[in-house]
C-alpha cells in the first residue's frame, strides 16, 4: 500500500495538535485566573458593603439609644409640670422640637406650654410666648425647605378685612400643583381667623382628575392651622401616597401669609407607615395599578 501524500491540512494538523493542547491549557489557566480575580473583587465589595451596613446599623443603634434616653428624660418634665419652671420647660421643648420634630407630633406640648405662659404672663415672662413661637417657626421653616425641595408649593395672603366681609368664608385663588405624574388642584377657603391666638380655620379642597377620564375626584378637609402645626407630621393624606400641608408663614395685625406644600409620602414623619395597599400598588407598577383601579370603579 502506498502511503497517502500529506496535504497542507494534514501538516497543519500535526503542527497545531500540540499547540491546541497548549492553547487549551492557557485558556483554562486564564479562565481560572480571571475567575478568581472576579470572585475576589466581588468578595471584597461584599465585605465592604457588609462593613458599611454594620457600621451604619451600629451608629443608628447608638443614636436611637441616645435619643431614647434623651426623650425619656425630657418627656418626664412635661408629665410632671409642677416640677419645672416655664423657662426649663421651654428649653426642654426646644430640645424635643429640634431633635424629634420629624418623628413626634409636638403640637399638644406647644399648646399646653403656650397656655401656661399666657396664664402666668408677667412683664418678665412676656418674651416666652415669642420664644415658643420662634422655635415652632424655625421647625416649620426647616421642614418646608425639605418638602419644597422634593415637592411643589404655593403661597397665599389672607387679608383679615376680606375675611370679615365674606360671611361664607373667603375663597383664595386656587393653585394647580404637579408631583410625579399627578396634577391636583388645591382650593383654600378661609373660614375664621382668631387673631389673639394666631389661628386660621381652613377648608381645603383637593381635586384630582381621574386617569383616562374627564371625571374629578374631590377630597376635602376642614381644620385649624397655627404656628404649632408642623407639615411633616400634620398634613392631609392623599391618594398615591402623597401628602399636602398648610402652614402659617407670617401672621400680622391685618393679614397672614400661608403656604401649601404638596409632597411625597416618603417625606412624611418617621412615625407614619405607608398603607399596604399602596405599597402593593407601587410594586405592581403604576400602569397595572391604574388598570386595577379603573376595573374596581
Amino acid at each position: 500500500m502506498t502511503e497517502k501524500q500529506k496535504d497542507g491540512w494534514d501538516k497543519a494538523a500535526i503542527v497545531l495538535h500540540p499547540v491546541g493542547g497548549l492553547l487549551a491549557a492557557l485558556a483554562v489557566a486564564g479562565l481560572g485566573f480571571f475567575g478568581s480575580q472576579f470572585l475576589e473583587k466581588r468578595q471584597s465589595e461584599e465585605t465592604r458593603a457588609r462593613f458599611f451596613s454594620e457600621l451604619i446599623s451600629k451608629r443608628e443603634e447608638a443614636d436611637s439609644a441616645l435619643r431614647k434616653d434623651m426623650f425619656m428624660s425630657i418627656i418626664q418634665s412635661f408629665l410632671r409640670p409642677e416640677s419645672a419652671s416655664i423657662d426649663d420647660r421651654i428649653v426642654k421643648l426646644e430640645l424635643l422640637a429640634y431633635n424629634f420634630h420629624e418623628s413626634l407630633n409636638l403640637k399638644p406640648l406647644f399648646v399646653q406650654l403656650a397656655g401656661d405662659i399666657a396664664k402666668s404672663a408677667t412683664p418678665a415672662t412676656r418674651g416666652n410666648g415669642d420664644r415658643l413661637e420662634k422655635v415652632a417657626r424655625e421647625v416649620v421653616r426647616k421642614e418646608m425647605v425639605v418638602l419644597e425641595g422634593v415637592g411643589a408649593s404655593f403661597g397665599r395672603t389672607i387679608d383679615f378685612d376680606d375675611v370679615a366681609q365674606s360671611p361664607g368664608g373667603l375663597a383664595l385663588d386656587s393653585g394647580k400643583l404637579t408631583l410625579g405624574r399627578i396634577s391636583r388642584e388645591f382650593s383654600i377657603v378661609v373660614e375664621k381667623i382668631e387673631v389673639p391666638t394666631k389661628q386660621i380655620q381652613i377648608r381645603l379642597e383637593v381635586k384630582t382628575p381621574r386617569e383616562g377620564s374627564h371625571e374629578v375626584d374631590t377630597d376635602d378637609a376642614e381644620f385649624w392651622v397655627d404656628f404649632f402645626d408642623f407639615p411633616m407630621i400634620d398634613h392631609t393624606r392623599l391618594s398615591h401616597d402623597q401628602r399636602c400641608a398648610v402652614v402659617i408663614k407670617n401672621f400680622g395685625k391685618s393679614s397672614a401669609k400661608i403656604g401649601l406644600v404638596f409632597f411625597p409620602g416618603s417625606y412624611a414623619s418617621l412615625k407614619e407607615k405607608p398603607y399596604i395597599q399602596e405599597m402593593i400598588r407601587d410594586l405592581l407598577g403604576a400602569k397595572q395599578a391604574s388598570d386595577l383601579e379603573n376595573a374596581r370603579r
Partner: protein, 110 residues
C-alpha cells in the same frame, strides 16, 4: 466726644432693627425664566416708596418701614405690572411670575 460715641453706638444698634422690620424678598420670573439683573422693583407702602432691583438670580429684596399692605411694582420696558404684598414683623417671601396676556404684563404671586 462721649455724646458722639453714644450716638454712633445707638445708630449702629438701630440698623439691624430697622433692616429686619418688614423685609419682602423673593424671585421674579418672566415666562418661566428668572428675569435679568437690574430689573427695577419698587415697593410703595403708604406715602413711602422703596426702590430696588433684581440681582443676577432674578431675586429682589426690599424693606418696608412698617407692617402693612404695600404695592410692589416691576418695571418691564414701558409697562409696570403691580401686585399687593403684605409686610410683617418677620421677613416674608413673595415669588412672582409675569404673565403676558393680550400684550400686557400682569404680576402674579406663585
Amino acid at each position: 466726644m462721649k455724646k458722639h460715641v453714644l450716638a454712633m453706638l445707638l445708630a449702629i444698634a438701630a440698623i439691624p432693627t430697622a433692616a429686619a422690620a418688614g423685609e419682602i424678598y423673593g424671585t421674579i420670573k418672566d415666562q418661566g425664566k428668572l428675569v435679568k439683573e437690574g430689573v427695577p422693583v419698587t415697593m410703595a407702602c403708604g406715602a413711602t416708596s422703596v426702590p430696588g432691583a433684581t440681582d443676577k438670580n432674578g431675586a429682589y429684596r426690599l424693606f418696608a418701614s412698617a407692617e402693612g399692605k404695600c404695592t410692589l411694582t416691576v418695571k418691564m420696558g414701558s409697562e409696570s405690572p403691580a401686585a399687593v404684598v403684605h409686610s410683617y414683623a418677620e421677613s416674608a417671601r413673595y415669588n412672582f411670575h409675569l404673565e403676558k396676556k393680550d400684550g400686557k404684563y400682569t404680576l402674579k404671586a406663585e
